[in-house]
């Protein structure tokens, strides 16, 4: 069964088509990458898939749920790391995780918080207000909040941003572990290295359209990913 089904999805902002009739499937248990240059529509796509933004046209099913009008049901089942880290200003890191735990009604909230504070070494910062944390620490808080309830499906938008190499490595290892457990992960990024190391299937978006799709080995059979990416984006701009 597909975790994510997208058919003829379009999303416009006024006269600008951020997404233009795209279709793809993400099978359950797949680590799926959505790559593209800046402004390609990756974050818009992620926001539509997670029910934060309604589509202008087309159909989107996430875990069998039509996202149109069922945003809450979708977000109950998934974890989301947004593009811009933005935990609430006046809660501490610990308190924000407690808040998320309570909203998601998870069991053993304190135990789960402790686990993720240990994982990301947030001990020294856990009682600092989120507005006073560094960008990297805020990103760790947002990652923790997405992982806390052990969701079967994760949507990650530029998850490695602002993380130092140690935590990028740690996060990559954890995501690979989730992949082995059969979780579905939808990753948006413009960093192609993540595709090579993590993704099994991927699409390349440019100007709201899919310019390439398939498994990573298939797409890189004859040229490396960077060459492919640059060629496709250039061809799309100058056909």
């Amino acid at each position: 069964m597909a975790s994510i089904t997208v058919r003829e999805l379009s999303r416009s902002f006024g006269a600008t088509a951020a997404l233009d009739r795209i279709s793809f499937d993400v099978a359950e248990g797949t680590f799926f990458g959505c790559f593209g240059p800046n402004g390609a529509g990756k974050s818009t796509l992620l926001r539509v898939l997670t029910g934060q933004l309604p589509p202008t046209a087309g159909e989107v099913l996430v875990s069998g749920i039509d996202v149109q009008g069922n945003g809450i049901a979708v977000r109950e089942r998934v974890g989301i790391v947004p593009e811009a880290e933005s935990p609430p200003s006046y809660l501490t890191a610990y308190e924000y995780l407690a808040f998320v735990g309570r909203v998601r009604k998870v069991d053993d909230v304190e135990g789960r918080i402790d686990r993720w504070i240990d994982f990301f070494d947030l001990g020294a910062s856990q009682d600092v207000l989120c507005k006073d944390l560094s960008k990297g620490t805020r990103q760790k808080v947002m990652l923790s909040s997405a992982f806390m309830h052990d969701p079967p499906l994760l949507f990650l938008d530029e998850p490695f941003v602002n993380l130092d190499p140690i935590y990028q490595h740690k996060l990559r290892e954890y995501l690979l572990h989730l992949r082995e457990e059969g979780r579905t992960i939808f990753l948006c990024s413009h960093i192609l290295e993540a595709a090579q190391k993590l993704c099994q299937e991927m699409i390349i978006l440019n100007r709201g359209r899919i310019v390439a799709s398939g498994s990573v080995p298939q797409l890189t059979a004859e040229e490396d990913l960077e060459t492919l990416f640059l060629r496709l984006v250039e061809e799309d701009v100058h056909p």
Partner: protein
């Protein structure tokens, strides 16, 4: 100058993003029309109050409006600390570029003042002028009154700017300044130590200039005093702007679990109310909210006192009238609650906008009922009207609930920016002005006829029913909307 131009462009684009460019220009047209119609109806209004009372009320109202929009110290700090979700603005650039926060705030204030003048003040004044061919007012009087109004607005804005910047430097200083302001108001209103012109010098100008007076030297003196006071407050604010806004990595106690436990009886609202409570405590918003609520009400109370006792014109502002006004002003508190922090992060959680709106409404009720009740009880004690509390308190509660639910329904989590949309503003004015007018007129008859109390009760029942309907319709209107 280029910073000022850039900020003006930024201000225009930010406001037109709330509606559209065309709708934003509808706002000045709206202000022009309202001012024109009101000027044409002045003859009827002046059947109920004298020109002096009218000019006093209008100047005081415009001054308070300036106070309400001028808290740029707090707004600036919020922007600099990037607590506007993903939005960013020019005022944060000193952290990246060779610019000082002082010069940036100087331009920030100027751009805001220019913007409000262009969008509201100047169109309103033009509306008044446009009524001249149809009224008997002299152009000199109208221009003189217009100058007074414009300066009242700027004076209010600069006062609020100075106090808010002081507040960002020190909560203690803010508390002292607020206490001084309240003491000054009491000194005038309750104790008659000095006239209103010593607090609001534009009134001193107005009393000496056409249409109320013809003492040119005294008028010029008060005009100069107003301009000096405005510039001094502005300069004080700029001097107080800090050169850096670095947050401290201070450790905080775990408030959230404690509040979560306290809100156990609130069912599914429990986690959200706990978060709101922590936000209010840590942001210092409660103090600012109370002040933004109490100051206009204090001015209103002493407007009535001044009219009744100072001008010795028995207008009949009784406790029922004040209770209704407190109820209407409570919208300010809801607005403040929605501005404590950005809501973007809710987009990653299984939460819909109506849930957060209803959480804010519950917080509003918890916060305001105490403050509002204390205010009405205080006014009743001062005026010797405790015998009318049986009617005044229900008026207070029903009007508060109605106004805030209606505002929440119309504007969601962005009342301040939504009200720049003329369509929303028109609906807001209709839902607030009509009941306000009705209750005001009926309150004047309380004590003279039993029918007044019956009529008021009828209005309250209607307002309660309307509030319940709008509360239920919050889901339909806001469910599909995003948080950013």
């Amino acid at each position: 100058m280029f910073i000022l131009r850039a900020m003006l462009r930024e201000e225009y684009r930010m406001h037109s993003s709330y509606t559209s460019s065309r709708m934003m220009f509808a706002l000045p047209a709206f202000a022009f029309t309202i001012a024109l119609v009101t000027s044409l109806a002045l003859g009827n209004i002046m059947g109920a109050m004298s020109l002096e009372e009218l000019l006093f009320n209008v100047n005081a109202g415009v001054f308070l409006y300036g106070v309400s929009v001028g808290a740029l110290g707090f707004i600036g700090r919020t922007l600099v600390e990037r607590r506007q979700g993903q939005l960013n603005s020019i005022i944060t650039m000193p952290s990246l570029l060779p610019m000082s926060y002082r010069s940036t705030f100087l331009c920030f204030f100027a751009s805001d003042a220019i913007f409000y003048f262009a969008l509201l003040i100047v169109p309103a004044l033009l509306g008044i002028l446009a009524s001249l061919p149809f009224t008997h007012f002299s152009i000199v009087s109208v221009l003189s009154a217009s100058l007074s109004l414009a300066l009242s607005f700027l004076y209010g804005m600069s006062l609020s700017f100075a106090v808010s910047v002081a507040g960002t430097r020190s909560r203690g200083a803010f508390a002292i300044i607020a206490a001084v302001i309240i003491a000054l108001l009491l000194g005038h209103g309750a104790l008659h130590f000095y006239g209103i012109e010593w607090l609001l010098p534009t009134m001193g100008y107005q009393f000496s200039a056409p249409p109320l007076g013809a003492d040119a030297p005294l008028a010029a003196l008060f005009l100069a005093a107003t301009i000096m006071a405005t510039l001094l407050l502005y300069a004080a604010a700029i001097i107080m702007v800090p050169e850096s806004f670095q947050g401290r990595e201070a450790r905080h106690g775990r408030l959230y679990p404690r509040y979560f436990a306290r809100f156990a009886s609130f069912g599914s609202f429990q986690p959200y109310l706990a978060k709101e409570m922590v936000d209010l405590r840590r942001s210092g918003a409660v103090g600012r909210m109370v002040l933004s609520f109490v100051i206009p009400l204090t001015m209103l109370s002493f407007t009535g006192w001044y009219v009744n006792n100072g001008l010795e014109v028995p207008v009949g502002f009784n406790i029922v009238f004040y209770a209704a006004m407190v109820g209407f002003f409570s919208v300010v508190l809801y607005t403040s609650l929605t501005e404590v922090d950005a809501h973007d992060f809710y987009g990653t959680l299984p939460v819909a906008v109506p849930r957060v709106i209803r959480t804010k409404l519950i917080m509003f009720l918890m916060l305001t009922m105490g403050i509002s009740t204390a205010f009405v009880l205080g006014i009743a004690a001062l005026n010797g009207e405790a015998g009318m509390l049986w009617l005044a308190l229900p008026v207070l509660y029903v009007v508060s609930v109605y106004m805030v639910v209606a505002t929440a329904y119309l504007t969601g989590l962005r009342p301040n920016s939504s009200l720049f949309d003329p369509a929303v503003l028109s609906k807001f004015i209709v839902i607030s002005i009509l009941p306000s007018l009705g209750l005001t007129l009926m309150s004047f008859s309380v004590g003279r006829t039993e029918l007044a109390a019956v009529a008021i009760a009828g209005v309250l029942v209607l307002l309660l029913a309307a509030a319940m309907l709008l509360y239920r319709r919050i889901d339909a209107k806001w469910s599909g909307r995003g948080f950013n």
